[in-house]
């Protein structure tokens, strides 16, 4: 029996709080959704290993390794008391900035963007980790300002916190991840109760400065945006991927062509099928049915994240849930929207499905923290 401590919580009365986290409060449904999505991700790694899934260094074997690491990270973070984060947010934040600077210093340039750092033969995107770190930093910041959440100063403070990593990620340049940081900021602020008026003003300001942003965009980023408007205008570049992705998705039909039977990915019509276009291969091979299953799992996962936030008695928990849910839904929207031809190609991974170690680990850490929050939430004391 877990030791409980009864305490008084503003707005909730007397509650009981587990002393060191209660595994009874471990959110089985969240874990199930995450695990199912990760397994589907492994299936896609299997089907996207043209050299043979079991050969060393194949997408699948690497995926399996990251899967194991993600389980470890998830469990470790869940066991870890998230409240400690509140005591050292600045340290975590500085580590984050340091990693991003490191990326710019020694990163590998692929397709014109310096996003990857080579670690023991594996490439790793620190900007992925940056996302979960920023969720935690923001949550800690909002928790600290829980009495003045509605004030403009809170909004400005949160914005100033996000600005340095945002700029560093943009320099790489990685528009997609930068936008995810903005989504995290918006989600965390919104759920924790920031002033809607000031958030609206901020959003309006951003829209007003879009022309300025356009002028600083990289040439290829502009082309991607333009090619989204008219894929045939640059069919061999970004537009080509969009067209091929739509062919892959459309040709999948209702039930799909069956795992490993896709022709679009296998013959490399999708040049980056192993990264951000993995969902296109999934939709080709598993069809509309497979796509709906994946969407439902994401809805379930985000539902549990929000529920944990709802049940949490701390602003940290609420803000963390808001940031995590915003991150997840934003990536689903942008990635799936891109594959379905509704969104520009921005290079945002689809959590679990896109084969990328950093993305998986980052998501695992975020969900592990959600579990930690769940397991340490105050409940009625019986």
């Amino acid at each position: 029996m877990t030791a409980m401590r009864v305490e008084r919580v503003a707005g909730r009365g007397l509650v009981a709080r587990p002393e060191s986290g209660s595994w009874q409060s471990f959110d089985i449904q969240l874990a199930f959704c995450a695990l199912a999505l990760a397994v589907i991700g492994l299936l896609m790694a299997w089907t996207n290993s043209p050299e043979g899934p079991l050969s060393p260094g194949s997408t699948f074997t690497r995926g399996l390794m990251w899967f194991a690491l993600a389980i470890v990270a998830f469990s470790a973070v869940a066991a870890f008391d998230y409240r400690w984060l509140r005591t050292l947010p600045w340290l975590v934040y500085l580590v984050n900035i340091g990693l991003l600077l490191l990326t710019l210093a020694i990163g590998i340039t692929i397709n014109g963007a310096q996003r990857w750092v080579s670690l023991a033969g594996l490439t790793f995107q620190f900007s992925e980790i940056s996302k979960v770190i920023m969720i935690a930093v923001l949550a800690a910041f909002l928790e600290a300002r829980k009495d003045s959440l509605g004030k403009l100063s809170t909004l400005i403070g949160a914005g100033l916190l996000v600005a340095p990593p945002f700029v560093l990620v943009m320099i790489q340049p990685d528009l997609g991840t930068a936008l995810v940081l903005v989504a995290i900021l918006a989600g965390a602020l919104f759920l924790s109760g920031a002033s809607l008026r000031w958030m609206g003003v901020a959003a309006g300001t951003v829209v007003a400065t879009l022309p300025v942003i356009w002028s600083v965009l990289q040439d290829y980023q502009r082309r991607r945006l333009l090619s989204f408007l008219d894929p045939t205008s640059d069919p061999q570049g970004a537009g080509y991927q969009v067209i091929q992705a739509q062919i892959a998705v459309g040709s999948g039909g209702f039930f799909g062509k069956g795992l490993t039977n896709g022709t679009q990915g296998a013959s490399a019509f999708l040049p980056v099928q192993s990264t951000d276009f993995a969902l296109a291969v999934l939709l080709e091979e598993l069809g509309f049915v497979g796509g709906i299953v994946v969407f439902l799992l994401f809805v379930g996962l985000i539902w549990r994240v929000l529920l944990i936030g709802w049940r949490s008695d701390t602003i940290f928990g609420i803000a963390f849930a808001g940031g995590t849910a915003a991150m997840l839904i934003f990536q689903v929207l942008v990635n799936a929207g891109m594959i379905a031809g509704m969104m520009p190609v921005t290079g945002i991974p689809l959590p679990f499905i896109t084969h990328g170690g950093a993305s998986l680990i980052s998501t695992a850490i975020a969900l592990g923290l959600m579990q930690s929050i769940s397991m340490r939430a105050a409940r009625p004391p019986w």
Binding site: G11, A340, P381
Partner: protein, 636 residues
């Protein structure tokens, strides 16, 4: 201050509850939107995309066939295929960011305007994976540079392709014609026949007329492609290509050269703008030479003619691209008196011995129809009338025949209808009849117009080939053949696929004796020195001159004129002179000098020059002193 009851926690703040609800709603909306889009793509449009995916991977690729060659009658190659370097771009492999650099480099290397290259790359915007031709027949050193720089020229490929080469260039250009890129209109008709976007097709000459023989048939293979459109492997060859068959022409390049030299010689001496020489074997209708000046070079087309070059050819007032031997029709002038004389003899208007009075002119009403020498020749029979080319003699015959009988005999000799030679763009010519004039002008032929029709003027129009073919029928005793330009079709291994026999159009409805009279009369044209010193050639040659007025009168009231001479050479041996009474001629020739305006008959000089070269007669009637006695200057 609130009262807290243990175990009864207050509901969370309502404000935040609404926000959780809104957040949840956003998520449901986002996923619902994505699911709807997926349903549309995968279920509603699934079939369409399935087709695209299949096309992506499996492609049918044509296997081009080798175009057949063209030889002359002695087996000399006239049109062959040579390997040449072509520069192609696969637009899908050329990243947008490097496009300017690549285009600018290609522009420098190939000496083509950058915008032209970009236009070529973008021409088939929907087929980014299909190779686009940027330049053909580039020098090998340029090809090597492009291959060496391939790293910095993404999407650019150098490939070796067959290109047509015309070994004798301008000498036989009108006969061979050229191949060129198919036009969009061609493609609409020919797509079913397997023609491709960047295909070449025979445009003119035998290249055009025998396109289906020369082309062969393309094969087809099924290939699997990768994302960049490159062929990963050939799945299967569904059909092997079949090489085109080759053509052996009736043309003899040596005779062609002699004819061309004769025409060129006259062109330089009396400054002709246009001219034609055709040489035929009257026993078969085989065309041995066909020269039309000015000419052009088919190789310019084979190498890929530039717009400027093409425009220059089109703008040339003497229209070098036109084969005047058969594509234009002119008044045949006195050469047409063959028709009038033969008709009068056949219809019993005269006998060979009938004498008719000639005069300075004939009158119909107030109109005067003059003799060409303005004096008349006194009484003449058919021999005298033909050899002196008396207009008033033939006015009388034409008047007695009437327009329709005259037309009947003209048709017998092949006037007024295409000869049917296997070359494109042949003109039909005009033989006026009452019916024809009713159609065109709504009236019958006037009597005076019948006079003109009898001497090859007025409405009469004929191609040089028609005139030659008529005299070939005279020379061979009444057999009107279809002029032949292709002798045989040969397979790639040299075996004969098709052997074209002489094709008889019809035998003339003319008594052989009448034709004999006309042949002898044609010999008298020469012996009477109507053609001046042509008779000094040690060769029996018979023929007829023609001076055909056309166009507008000059200040002195004179009309410009074309000159004609059409001749045949009765068979001869070292011991035996040729006999024009016989039907054994093996060579007939026509020369046509457009707007020659020389004092005498320029065409006769051309034929004379040709004959002395062709038969190696050992005389030179073109020496300056003898030239003065020739037809250019009207003799002495």
């Amino acid at each position: 201050m609130h009262d807290y009851v243990l175990g009864q926690p207050e509901p969370p703040r309502t404000r935040l509850g609404v926000r959780f609800g809104v957040f949840g709603l956003v998520i449901v909306l986002v996923v619902g939107l994505l699911a709807t889009r997926l349903f549309y793509l995968q279920v509603v449009q699934g079939g369409y995309y399935a087709g695209l995916a299949e096309e992506n991977r499996n492609a049918m690729q044509p296997l081009r066939s080798t175009r057949g060659l063209v030889y002359d009658r002695a087996g000399r190659p006239l049109a062959i295929n040579v390997p040449s370097y072509v520069v192609l771009v696969r637009p899908a492999d050329l990243p947008f960011s490097e496009r300017d650099a690549v285009v600018s480099r290609l522009s420098t290397l190939l000496d083509i305007n950058g915008p032209d290259i970009i236009e070529a790359i973008d021409r088939y915007a929907s087929q980014r994976f299909e190779l686009v031709r940027i330049a053909s027949d580039i020098p090998s050193d340029v090809a090597r540079i492009i291959v060496e720089e391939s790293r910095s020229l993404p999407g650019v490929e150098v490939s070796i392709e067959d290109r047509r080469e015309y070994e004798y260039g301008p000498l036989v250009s009108h006969i061979l014609g050229y191949t060129g890129p198919v036009t969009a209109e061609d493609l609409a008709e020919l797509a079913d026949a397997g023609y491709l976007n960047d295909d070449q097709i025979g445009k003119t000459g035998v290249e055009g007329r025998f396109e289906d023989v020369l082309r062969g048939s393309y094969g087809q293979q099924q290939v699997e492609r990768d994302a960049s459109g490159r062929v990963v492997r050939t799945v299967q060859i569904l059909q092997q290509p079949e090489a085109g068959d080759s053509l052996e022409l009736t043309i003899d390049v040596e005779i062609q050269r002699e004819a061309e030299e004769a025409l060129q010689w006259a062109t330089e001496i009396v400054n002709l703008q246009r001219g034609v020489v055709i040489v035929m074997n009257p026993q078969t209708g085989e065309v041995l030479a066909m020269v039309s000046l000015p000419t052009y070079d088919d190789n310019v087309f084979a190498r890929g003619i530039t717009n400027d070059e093409y425009q220059a050819l089109i703008d040339d007032p003497n229209r070098p691209l036109v084969n005047f031997a058969l594509s234009e029709q002119y008044p045949p002038g006195s050469t047409y008196k063959l028709v009038t004389g033969t008709g009068a003899l056949m219809d019993g208007i005269i006998t060979p011995s009938t004498q008719l009075e000639t005069a300075p002119y004939l009158e119909i009403g107030t109109y005067k129809y003059p003799e060409w020498n303005r004096r008349g020749f006194g009484p003449l029979d058919i021999y005298g009338g033909f050899s002196r080319s008396s207009d008033t003699f033939f006015y009388q015959l034409a008047g007695s025949l009437g327009a329709d009988r005259l037309a009947y005999w003209a048709n017998q000799f092949g006037f007024g209808q295409r000869t049917g030679i296997d070359l494109p763009a042949e003109a039909r010519g005009i033989v006026p009849t009452d019916e024809w004039k009713q159609d065109v002008f709504g009236q019958d032929v006037y009597p005076g117009e019948v006079y003109h029709a009898g001497i090859g003027q007025g409405y009469d129009a004929a191609t040089p080939l028609q005139v030659l073919n008529a005299y070939s029928a005279l020379a061979n005793g009444g057999w009107l053949y279809e002029p032949q330009i292709v002798r045989r079709v040969l397979a790639a291994d040299g075996s004969v696929v098709q052997d074209f026999q002489p094709k008889l159009l019809h035998t003339l409805d003319v008594d052989p004796d009448v034709l004999r009279v006309m042949r002898v009369a044609a010999r008298e044209v020469v012996t009477s020195r109507h053609t001046f010193n042509l008779v000094d050639l040690p060769l029996v040659v018979a023929g007829k001159t023609g001076t055909a007025e056309f166009g507008l009168r000059d200040a002195q009231g004179r009309l410009p004129f074309h000159s004609w001479f059409v001749a045949f050479v009765p068979k001869f041996t070292a011991d035996q002179q040729g006999d024009p009474a016989k039907t054994d001629s093996e060579l007939a020739i026509v020369a046509f000098a457009y707007s020659s305006n020389t004092k005498g008959n320029a065409a006769t000089e051309i034929v004379k020059y040709f004959l002395q070269q062709h038969y190696d007669l050992g005389v030179d009637l073109t020496r300056p002193d003898l030239l003065q006695k020739g037809n250019f200057y009207g003799g002495n």
